[in-house]
Each structure stands twice: as C-alpha cells, then as structure tokens.
Subunit: 429 residues, 2 copies
C-alpha cells in the first residue's frame, strides 16, 4: 500500500459538500499530487438520482445510484460519506469500514449520535476515520484540538457554529429587524431552509458542540444531556437593549469542564462586545477554546458551504494519503478515554440579562430587587424606562446559580405589579 501511485476515492453523495469536494480535488490536483506523492482518482460517486442535472461535469461511468458500488469496490481505498443524516449513512460507513476502507465524513449528526462506535471500529481495523468537515465547515478545529493543542487540558470550548442563525442574528442586530422578517428574507436568499427547525431551534449547533466537547474533554458526550434553546424567542427589543449594555447576542454552543463534570449547552447568549466571538458576523463561524497551556485561542472562517466544507474533506483525504504512504492508517484514533459525568443546567453559574415590564409606580424597582435578593441573585446594573404607564426594567445580574434565577423569576411573574417577564438570556464572559 505504501507506494501506491494512485489512491482511489469513492464518494457517497454529490450534494453541496460532495460537489465542493470534487471541485477542490480537481482544481488543485497538481499541488495535492506534490503534497502526497500520489494521485487521487475519483473512482466512483454514488448519487440518489442519476438523472438530476449537476454543476459538475463527470464521466457518466463513475456515477452510480448503487451505494454498494462504492462501499464494496475492492479498488477503492477511501470512502467519503457526504450524504448526511444518521441512517442509512451510518450503515454505509460501517460497511465500508468492514470492507477495509478509511473514511472521511462531514456528517455532524452521525458523528454526534454514533461517532464513538464508528471510531472504535475504525481503530480496531487500523483504518483512518476523519471528520474535520462536520464542524465549522472549512475551519480547522478538530485536527488542532486533537493534534497541535493536544498538550492542553481544556476548560472551555465555545462556538458560533451555525451560519444560518448567525446570519439572522447579525441582521436583527444591524437592521433592528424582527425575527420573523429576517427569517423570511434568509429563506428567500437560500441562507435558511424552507423548514428552518434544525438551525433555528439549535439542533445543528447541538451536534457540533457535542463533537467539539467530546474532543476537548476526551469524553463521550450524551447528546440527550445537552440543554438546547434556539433563537425564536429573541426580539428586536433584546438587541436594542444588549447594544445599550455594550453586548451582542449570539447563538452559542458551550462546553465547560469543572471539577464536578462537563456541562454542554446551546442557547442565545449576550457576549461583551470585546469578546473574540462578538465580531463573528453573518454566515461566518468562530470557535473559541481555553486550554491550560495555550490560554485563549480562536478559529474563524466560513462554517458551511460547498467549497469550504470541501476544503475540510480534501484536507482529511490528504491526511489519510500521507498515512497510507507510511502504512500508518489508524494513527489517530478515538480520543474519548473518559466517561465524565454531565451536569444539568440548574446548577450553572453565570450572569443573566432579564427584561420585564411592570406598572410604573413608586418602589417597583425596589420590590423587584428585593425578590431577586431573596434568592441570592445580586444585581450588577439596571436600566429602567417608562412608556405610558408601563415601566420596562432591564437588568444584568452578577454571577448566580440558574435555579435561583428561575425561582426568582417565577415569583416575580406572579406579582400583581409585574405585567410580564419578557425575556431572560444568559451572559457569557
């Protein structure tokens, strides 16, 4: 295997990522050849519909609608699974591994739900199994965490890992627009799906932060124990107030490790405008990590799209080719040695932004502050504005325990002079 002049690739799926992969392999073929000392040959591509018109010109003989033409072809060395979804992708990848093929995938959902077993299967067969494209599109983040930063213990990984919601939130912030209007525009422009649930409810970010946390903390992450909130309850008023407070609002995935365990969550958060992630706008992604040697580091780039994700897939292919040349596939296996406990949200300690409406009468603020005080929630800053007879109170708490905040809000919501708890959002430092 070491001295092969041609390395045969099979691809499953020729959608957005598959096309970017083929395009990148083709236009940069000469440089890639120099780098790996061999030629990549796209031997077979499995597609769902042979008749579909495609941007990319391919010899008809290499396109098939039979997946097993890829997974079972003895001449294929590496299989790229680029179809997405858990099943049947998972079965195809398993079959390819059983047939002795190294794997590249960009499938975040499969990796978050079934990655561990697949990685162990690959390891047992001394095969490579790489998945850089599953998080952050073209941004190198999985390889840096597993390799260049491997000397660190990480206490935190936090990312803006969903381009669709970041586009929507950036528009809401810049244009003072409401969620529904911006979503409709994003759908028209193709930045959001007709059914946007997976993005706007935070599920896409959930898969990605599960992958990042598992690598950063060297532990399996049970995705059912990740707390997930989307962006649908954010209003333009929250963006106005965040700005006044010197903050931006972003949908973040956060993994943190403490002495008690790991807490992983996805939710909108206020970030101070000086935070490295605060200037990650539009469809860009940014991933921030904190290690005990490197300190704070951040990775930024296009978190999705055809060519950027193709860049990640081709980087993985090059990595495998270099391993093949040395008979060293399986060099880097699963790095989840631990099964660390996962913590619930009610014990989270952070700062909170709270926006509520109350009757405009004397001592309202004192009464509100007193309820917070009863639950040990101390207040860092308050803005009070009055429209007609209603007072809008926007406050930022000091670091406090989430269950205390929720208990205080529960009491406040029942008081006669509080008209509504309009929103509360976590604040990350």
């Amino acid at each position: 295997m070491a001295n092969k002049e041609k390395i045969n690739i099979g691809i499953i799926g020729l959608g957005v990522v598959g096309s970017g992969t083929v395009r990148t392999l083709t236009r940069n073929a000469e440089q890639i050849h120099s780098k790996i000392g061999a030629e990549f040959v796209i031997k077979r591509i499995a597609v769902r519909d042979l008749k579909k018109a495609r941007e990319i010109d391919l010899p008809p003989s290499i396109v098939t609608d039979q997946v097993f033409d890829v997974t079972d072809d003895p001449e294929i060395d590496i299989v790229c699974e680029l179809m997405g979804g858990v099943e049947p992708a998972h079965q195809y990848v398993k079959r390819a591994l059983e047939n002795g093929k190294s794997i590249v995938t960009a499938n975040k959902e499969m990796m978050a739900k079934a990655g561990n077993d697949l990685l162990h299967l690959a390891e047992s067969k001394k095969l490579d199994f790489l998945f850089e494209g599953s998080v952050g599109g073209g941004i190198p983040i999985i390889q840096p965490l597993k390799q260049a930063l491997a000397g660190n213990q990480f206490s935190e990984v936090m990312g803006i890992v969903n381009g669709t919601t970041n586009y929507i939130l950036t528009k809401m912030a810049n244009e003072g627009a409401d969620y529904a209007d911006v979503l409709a525009e994003a759908q028209e422009r193709g930045y959001a799906e007709p059914d946007p649930t997976n993005d706007v409810e935070g599920f896409d970010a959930q898969y990605k932060i599960a992958i990042l946390a598992s690598i950063a903390f060297n532990s399996r992450i049970d995705i059912t124990k990740i707390s997930v909130e989307g962006i649908t309850r954010l209003t333009k008023r929250d963006f106005e107030m965040a700005k006044i407070l010197g903050h931006v609002i972003k949908l973040v995935g956060i993994g943190q490790e403490t002495a008690d365990g790991i807490r992983v969550r996805v939710h909108p958060a206020l970030l101070a405008s000086g935070h490295p992630l605060a200037s990650v706008n539009d469809v860009y992604n940014g991933i921030f990590v904190r290690g005990n040697a490197v300190g704070d580091a951040m990775f930024y780039g296009r978190g999705a799209g055809s060519d950027p994700t193709g860049s990640a897939v081709v980087g993985d292919l090059i990595e495998i080719a270099r391993n093949m040349r040395m008979d060293a596939t399986g060099r880097l296996g699963c790095t989840c040695f631990y099964e660390k406990p996962m913590l619930a949200m009610d014990t989270l300690k952070t700062k909170y932004y709270v926006r509520l409406s109350a009757w405009d009468r004397p001592k309202v603020l004192a009464s509100v502050a007193s309820v917070f005080g009863d639950f040990d929630v101390s207040i860092e800053s308050v803005e009070q504005r009055t429209h007609h007879d209603e007072a809008e109170i926007v406050l930022m708490t000091h670091r406090t325990i989430e269950r205390n905040l929720i208990s205080a809000l529960d009491i406040l919501g029942r008081l006669s002079f509080v008209s509504s708890i309009n929103n509360w959002i976590r604040v990350e430092e």
Copy 2:
C-alpha cells in the same frame, strides 16, 4: 520503536519556552499519556549556566551544561531545540538529526534562514522535524496550513505576528500616546526588550512571515527579498487620523501570490475596522489566510509567552510520539516543492494613506491632487484641516502602483507650498 512505553526527550535551553514546555509536560502528563499510549520522560536538559536559579524544580542529574549530553545520548528519541538564534542552535540541531533524533524547535530565525536544509536532512533520515512554536506562539497555524488546509491553493497569508509591537500599537491607539512613551512603558513592564530593535524594526515579524509564506505557497522564501519596515515612524496623529477614517494601524506581515510570483513584506498598515485582524489587540496574534476552497480563515491567540509556546512544542512532541508508535516518523516533510520568483515592492498595487502639511492658501488641494493625477494616482477621500496658517491634508488613494505613489510624493515634497510629507502608510483590504 513502535511499542516503546517511554519516549525520552532531550531539551536544549531552559529559558521562557523551555520552562513552558517542561511545565506543560509535567502538569498534563496523565492526559498526554492517554493520548500517545506512552510516557514522555525528560531525560536531559542542557542549560548555559548550571547555577542559575530556576522557577522549575528538576532533579540536578538531568540538567547539564554540555549540549552533546543531549544531542549524542543514544537513549534520547526527540530533541527540543529551545535556545533560539541561528548559531550554534543550527549546528546542534544538525548533529541531533545526524544522530537519528526527531526534532522540535520554536526557533523562527533558524527556520527562516536555514529551515529548508534542515527539513531536507530530516526527510532523508525519515525523521520528524516540527516547528509549530516558531510562529504565533501557541496558535496552531503551521500544522493547519500543512494538513487540514492542504487542499487549498493560497493567494494570501497575513498576520499580526509580533506581540510586542501589537501591544505598543494598541496602547498608542487607545491612549493617544506617542511611540517613545509607550515603548518606555512596555520596556518597564517587560513586554519589550531593553534593546527593542528586533521587534520594533520588524525583524521578528520578517522571520515569521517568511515561514508562513514558504508553507502557504510551497516555495522557498529568500528572506533578503522581504521588504521590512518597523513601527518607529508612526505618530499619534496617524492613529487619530486612521480612526477618523474608520481604520486601525497594525504591524502586519503579508505574503501574496500572483501570476508573477510571490511578494512578502512587513510594514505598518491601515486595516478597515471590520477586517478580521483589526480586533486583534494587545499581545495577541492573529493570522489570516485566503485559500481557493476555504475562503477567508483566521487563527487567533497568544503569540508568545512561556506556556502558550510550550503548548505548541508539546503538541509537536505528541505528533512525533504518534508517528513513532506507527514507525512513521518523516511522515510530513518539507512542503517547499517550488522556487517561485519573489517580487519587489515598487510593483505592489494597493491603497495608500498620505498625510502632508502645506501652506493654507487657495487651490493647495487642487495642486496636490494634480500632482497625484500626473502619476495616475487617483484619490478616494480627502480630509483637510487648518491649524494657524498650515493646512494638514490627509488622503486615501484608490489602488495604485507603489512606484507611482513614491514618484508623486517625491515631486510633492519639492513643491514650495508643501511644508512636509509627514507620513504615508499602506492600506490593506
């Protein structure tokens, strides 16, 4: 070699980087053991002065003042050269390679001046030779360029790669302070050396951008063909004007490839405040790359310091250990396959900021604009302010060829009504 339970490390130099390396290896030993399936043992450390007091507690038996105790010890598998400077570091590294040891170094000057030959020597002996810590401290950038992003052709790499000057420029921008005052303060606080030449004249950045450009463009870079300007001619007035124009001033290293060749340069530049590098402040570093698949990506973190650079060195050690386990050292050799021509500055095409003083009399601006026009330099925006009898004219040009700008400035400087060309600075988009 593949199943070694202990991997012996020798270290040359126990200064800032050496201490961070030893500290990181020690405090994260358990996790590192899990990751590589073997134990790192620091077998020997060569220091200049055995009597010097050190922060780190080491058994006296492993410390030596004889470098050959490290380079020639047959039990040592990997040598970390962390002393800096070209000679004698270069000779020591060569000797260690000849003795069959893989190398980790953080030595930017040696890599910029003699890296190519060393890499080829390592390759010929199937040894690893890694140098992540030589650029950007703990920020993973060399490995991502060589591996995760290897599927790209790069057109640009631009970095804020010197923490000392970035600290000084950030202070000048935020505090409206003058260069000499901020430098003195930085020296007092230990952020700048007593002799700051290497940093403030841009030589440190020159070595680093040479390394980055050689990897991004897969070509040897002759450092004598890099144009280098430091930060000493920047004044607080330039920072005020840059801010008014919506820009910041940063010392950047830039490598760009065009159809004609590669141009590599170090100089202060105006960056629009929305540029990904514009918010890289204080001692932080940021490295921006543009690839034909990934698009724009940026890497951010602590570009120097004991633990961050130690993080990079330990990451390289882990990489080598993983290769040793597979008998795959030498897996990733020198990636400079090309010897591309290097371009001079006079054919650079970019935008320019020009600040000049002239007599305050009618038609001054028209006369200035007319000289620029004679050299095909067209003007994008102008600010004119008058103090007493003197007009300060600050203008931003459209993209123009550098030799034309310089010719125009040469003529302008000789006109009777122009009192002085105060400064001109390149503007990067």
